[in-house]
Symmetry: C2
Subunit: 400 residues, 2 copies
């Protein structure tokens, strides 16, 4: 069964993209919306401000009443009432009249301007005005900030604090966002134990379970760590069946070849193996299948290989479920030094990025530290044996 | 009482920095550590790998046994056992002997190399080897990836998926992080209502409550929205007392001047007003006090003013509680066009950043859209009336 279905990276992505998964949408409270991805275009249902609003504390009046006012010839208006922020005005301003108004309050009918209280004199129910006021002075007209019907935010926007504030400003208590893809994660291997367990001879601590879980979080998904499966059929099958309640299942393989065969055989029993090996390095042992419509990814056990394949194969699917494009994003960088590769092998080498330069990390995929230090990985095409220093290369960034 | 304690921005920061608040540390499960700030230097308690480990599936042997091997003169070794990943080897390799070993398994005593199974021939309990093997071939020595005692992560590191994976690799099930500062948020003003409530005449939806809550989240703090207080003594005092169970209290003022006096008077009753007005624009009405050792910030009501003052005054304190430096960070940018200011006033104007250019947003601080569109704000010093196009300016970024 092994390596019967080795495909190119492009073919693998085409198959993954054809899996029967679609973004789902949920409506959530605005309090929970920070960091989520908007699943609708947001049109403002109201004007902001919703009414002509005083922008200073002062006196609402008819501006025309003041046009002849001067230091030597002040205008005197009669104060007929008050209006405070949050109140509906109970009075209407006629010529010769004014109303005390506080910042944020509704401009009363009849008035078209507000003069600041600091520049007038108040004597009992009279206000003495020494200078003309322009129409609209001290007033923010309804809808000048945001007009009803305006497109405020587009579908696909990641909601930061400015976006949630904008939604709040136009009265949204709930908002439609893309549901977080639920990703089940299983680590496999008889040698793998959980942090906190005793490190008996031959055992090593799980790395991929943590790395993949938190990479899923960073992508905007919801990780569910199912646990560690031993390299035996019952243990692995039980964990896979438990994982089928989530949207996507990710296994990271034990280091040994035997685990791969086991994974493939269980997928064949429960569903179908779609891909068995991808013509990239790392990635040759990667298995991808479909069980009850749920994609299952058997990724390599070495941490760098696991994360590289996660980034190339799983991340585009998670992004798609969050309403984004299904694709790998490459950045162009310059190679820091000459790299030798093997002709006929399409390789992805971990690199550290300093400014525009990609510095290869040459520790080998078995090392934890090689992916810890990596900012991404550079592609070495199949037909290339040597990449020269300073050559432009395509880099996939470890940044979700 | 108003404006008795107007201070410079620098003096205000000095006072805030002197408040009796210190970072606190908590130990959390590694599952919860993603995104948190490390509160300890992490030294590896173990070697990784913890033992000499096979990095291929094959045969463990004494390399010296193979040094004379060739196609025409193969070496034959006796297979005396097997060792699989996760097991403790029960055999020891003597000259002329070999042990089948799977990737990730412990190299048995006596062996110093592993040859891949693909390049040998197996005949019953014999293995035929046609080429020499170097010492350490196919082996990852204990501690070559991470050595015991190595400094892995420094205090203050933000834990991404690579960092949590590294902690997992060395067996950490718990980790010490800085506690999230708990920030109480109160919106004030008779005109302010919550999204979802009916927009009756004179009312507007709360913006600052949402913006400040989510900005606190972005900074790494834990927001607690207490609600909206009316412009009356009892309502505001009750909310402030409720908020005292958190580390920091933030009020965003109603737009009107009356609210400020009310806030100041309640702070004086319950504690002490430390600052009443800061010599910056916006920021003149900002009140800062201390009640039962808890800092309370009365920020302006206009969203842009509120967020600007939050960024200048509260964000440094939240960062300090997360183990970071207490300071405002400025970036240098070029001004997109000439700006006129008022001499004698130190201003902060909202700007949009395009590459290295700061484009002023001139909508006024009453507009929601002026802070929504802003990436930060540029400082116009007190003694400056005109900033020229292309001039280098200091920008504080709205990025936490």
């Amino acid at each position: 069964m092994a390596f019967l279905k080795v495909v190119s990276l492009e073919k693998a992505l085409e198959i993954i993209n054809s899996f029967p998964l679609k973004p789902t949408i949920e409506e959530i409270e605005i309090e929970e919306a920070y960091g989520r991805i908007l699943a609708e275009d947001v049109i403002s249902p109201i004007d902001v401000p919703p009414f002509d609003r005083a922008s200073v504390d002062g006196y609402a009046l008819k501006s025309q009443d003041t046009w002849n006012a001067s230091e030597s010839n002040p205008v005197v208006l009669k104060v007929i009432g008050e209006v405070h922020a949050g109140e509906e005005p109970k009075v209407e301003v006629s010529p010769g009249e004014t109303v005390y108004i506080s910042t944020g309050a509704v401009l009363p009918k009849g008035a078209d301007a507000v003069i600041e209280f600091e520049v007038v004199e108040r004597e009992e129910d009279k206000v003495i005005i020494y200078k003309p006021v322009y129409p609209q002075a001290g007033v923010m007209k309804a809808g000048t900030d945001i007009s009803k019907g305006k497109l405020l935010l587009k579908i696909g926007t990641k909601l930061g604090f400015k976006e949630t504030a904008l939604l709040s400003a136009v009265g949204f208590e709930k908002v439609k966002v893309f549901s977080k893809p639920k990703v089940a994660i299983i680590s496999t291997g008889n040698e793998i134990i959980l942090p906190g367990d005793e490190l008996r001879p031959g055992k090593i601590y799980d790395i991929n379970g943590r790395a993949v879980s938190d990479a899923v979080k960073e992508l905007g998904g919801e990780p569910h760590f199912i646990g560690i499966a031993n390299d035996d059929r019952e243990s692995l099958k039980e964990k896979i069946i438990e994982a089928l309640k989530y949207d996507i299942i990710i296994l990271s393989g034990g280091a040994s070849g035997g685990t791969r065969d086991l994974t493939a055989s269980i997928i064949e029993e429960l569903g179908e193996v779609k891909i068995h090996g991808i013509a990239i390095q790392p990635g040759k042992p990667t298995i991808i299948g479909l069980i009850e419509g749920k994609p299952i990814f058997g990724l390599p056990g070495y941490p760098t290989s696991c994360l590289t394949n996660f980034t190339l194969l799983v991340a585009p699917l998670i992004r798609k479920l969050l309403g984004m494009d299904f694709k790998i994003e490459y950045a162009k960088k310059k190679l820091a030094h000459k790299v030798f590769s093997v002709k006929g092998r399409r390789q992805f080498l971990p690199v550290r990025i300093n400014d525009e330069v990609a510095q290869p990390i040459l520790k080998g995929s078995g090392a934890v530290t090689s992916f810890i230090e990596a900012d991404g990985f550079v592609e070495v095409p199949e037909n290339v044996e040597i990449l020269e220093e300073g050559e432009e290369v395509r880099v996939v960034l470890f940044k979700f």
